[in-house]
């Protein structure tokens, strides 16, 4: 399956991916309206230390421990390989946060879980973090 991959060598740490992610998942048509003056809850997060920067989002693991650990049956991995979260089933216990080795499950404004679904479940249709990355430090492709 196609996944989002990051290359920290090219990452500028500009955090545009975070903004594009939050916008793509906001349901709003206007970026300013969606983000201006609001706390954002991006599903991709940039880490920065000592000159190194990189973004992390869900790895859509082959054998996802979050899915196996979810106490609400809210996480699933179907035939397309994407790890999906049914937010209507999530009760916010954060067991997924406790088990994800990549720290890739974040929290939404209610404190419940939130994760990357490759922009395939929102209207963007293609990962907004990738599309908006000015340096091609995030790509969406098939790898082994």
């Amino acid at each position: 399956m196609k996944r989002v991959y990051v290359n920290e060598k090219w990452c500028l740490g500009c955090r545009l991916c975070e903004y594009n992610c939050a916008f793509a998942n906001s349901g709003e048509k206007d970026m300013v309206k969606a983000l201006k003056g609001k706390k954002i809850y991006p599903r991709i997060r940039v880490d920065e230390h000592d000159g190194i920067t990189f973004a992390v989002s869900c790895r859509h693991c082959e054998d996802p421990i979050c899915v196996k650990s979810c106490i609400a049956g809210a996480l699933s991995k179907e035939g397309d390989g994407m790890v999906k979260l049914d937010r209507t089933k999530c009760v916010g216990c954060l067991t997924c946060v406790l088990v994800c080795p990549y720290g890739a499950v974040v929290q939404d404004e209610r404190g419940a879980a939130l994760k990357c679904e490759l922009c395939l479940t929102n209207t963007a249709g293609y990962p907004a973090c990738v599309k908006g990355c000015p340096n091609a430090a995030i790509v969406y492709e098939e790898r082994d």
Partner: protein, 411 residues
């Protein structure tokens, strides 16, 4: 009747098993026998149901279509009475029996009720383990009810949170001098106790019931608690009866090997009824937690279908919240303690022989999985920048090469 695979018990381990079997064998017949009248639902969600944060429909662990899609014959409200490992059959409560090639015993736990004097004089008393327990409790409570919960563990406290706001008062008692004694130390438990008390929950710690006289509990200290509804949440015990009676080896729970095989041929076991080898304390323990049940069930299923899977890295862990205060714990609390206190967050990391073996986090549990993963993988801490992530977990702690593997490839 004969079914290639028979699963006794309809909890999450059974779903793991079905999914495990189907990874290897797409068509062999599966029969699921469950004593409960429901398809597999999320047991830990019963308190959220009372709280109104989920519904009966949403509580289903897998969609209703899951069973048909996977060719599973489900026998609801059917009790398994006996396993005959010689004839490879399971005797059912309706007098019929069902033959198996491979059997999974996933019978979970049963509430442990101490023999309190006078318990039989209490009219309105409940356990809090199953959906029916929760629904019965819900029918019994009124906005005036004085509810008395015996046991300040996860079950008792989640029950308290679930009915909070729907009853007159809630009092929780526990013989331990703190709440959540199985997962927290006294320091961290203190923070949780304050949160519970600030929401009006009365805690009586270091004391428990000596006897009941109808709707009064006389405590060991001599104090008394009047109540209308009693919830017994003292603890649970692995439900080992079927395997024990069939001659299988039992310790604290059913003893299984790394493939989830019991000491009986072709009889596997998974979930709360078993013992697991906890890699953080190097000891066999009953790890009655949902992720463990799923992973054991899946491992058993793969092996039952003659694939190969081994589950040998069990780690005790819990993530739970009370009134918005989050708790994440894992592993064992021995070795050198690294404690970090920041506003609204207490973090205790335990390092033993150069490896992270456990942690308690109260408050912000962001990315706690990075710690859990260090425990599960027994990562030597001198291979990462541990100092850097004591305060805030990040993949930054790993070398560039390790990170390239994690973020640049299929994992």
């Amino acid at each position: 009747m004969i079914s290639k695979y028979v699963i006794i018990g309809g909890g999450v381990a059974s779903t793991g098993c079905i999914e495990g079997i189907r990874k290897v064998d797409p068509s062999g017949g599966i029969t699921l026998i469950t004593a409960e009248p429901y398809l597999t639902y999320c047991r830990p969600l019963i308190s959220y149901l009372l709280e109104g944060k989920t519904t009966l429909e949403k509580m289903l662990y897998r969609p209703e279509s899951f069973y048909e899609k996977n060719g599973v014959r489900v026998m609801l409200a059917t009790k398994s009475e006996r396993i005959d490992p010689e004839r490879k059959t399971v005797m059912l409560s309706d007098g019929t029996s069902i033959g198996y090639e491979k059997l999974l015993c996933a019978t979970g736990s049963v509430p442990f009720v101490p023999p309190f004097e006078g318990l039989d004089t209490v009219k309105s008393k409940f356990s809090f383990l199953t959906l029916d327990d929760a629904l019965e409790l819900e029918r019994a409570i009124t906005p005036e009810s004085r509810v008395f919960i015996v046991g300040a563990g996860l079950i008792g406290l989640k029950c308290a949170e679930g009915i909070h706001g729907r009853v007159g008062s809630i009092t929780v008692c526990d013989l331990a001098p703190q709440v959540l004694a199985s997962i927290l130390d006294s320091d961290s438990a203190n923070i949780v106790e304050e949160t519970l008390q600030s929401h009006g929950i009365n805690l009586i710690l270091g004391d428990t019931v000596a006897k009941f006289e109808e709707n009064v509990a006389i405590l060991q200290s001599g104090a008394s608690v009047e109540f209308d509804v009693l919830v017994l949440a003292v603890g649970v015990r692995p439900n080992v009866a079927l395997v024990r009676d069939a001659g299988g080896k039992i310790g604290r729970g059913i003893i299984v090997d790394d493939t989830m095989l019991t000491s009986l041929p072709d009889v596997y076991a998974a979930g709360d009824c078993t013992e697991s080898f906890d890699i953080t304390s190097s000891s066999s323990r009953v790890l009655a937690i949902l992720p463990n049940a799923y992973m054991q069930g899946e491992c058993a299923g793969i092996n039952m279908a003659e694939g190969y899977s081994s589950y040998a890295n069990a780690v005790p862990m819990n993530s739970v919240g009370f009134f918005g205060l989050h708790i994440a714990t894992a592993g064992t609390y021995t070795g050198e303690l690294h404690e970090i206190r920041t506003p609204g967050c207490l973090k205790k990391l335990y390092v033993n022989e150069g490896r992270l073996v456990g942690f308690i986090i109260i408050g912000d549990t962001t990315r706690a999985g990075i710690y859990t993963s260090l425990i599960r993988n027994k990562t030597p801490l001198d291979e990462i920048d541990f100092e850097l992530i004591k305060n805030y977990p990040s993949l930054m702690a790993f070398s560039g090469n390790s990170r390239l593997k994690m973020l640049g490839g299929v994992v």
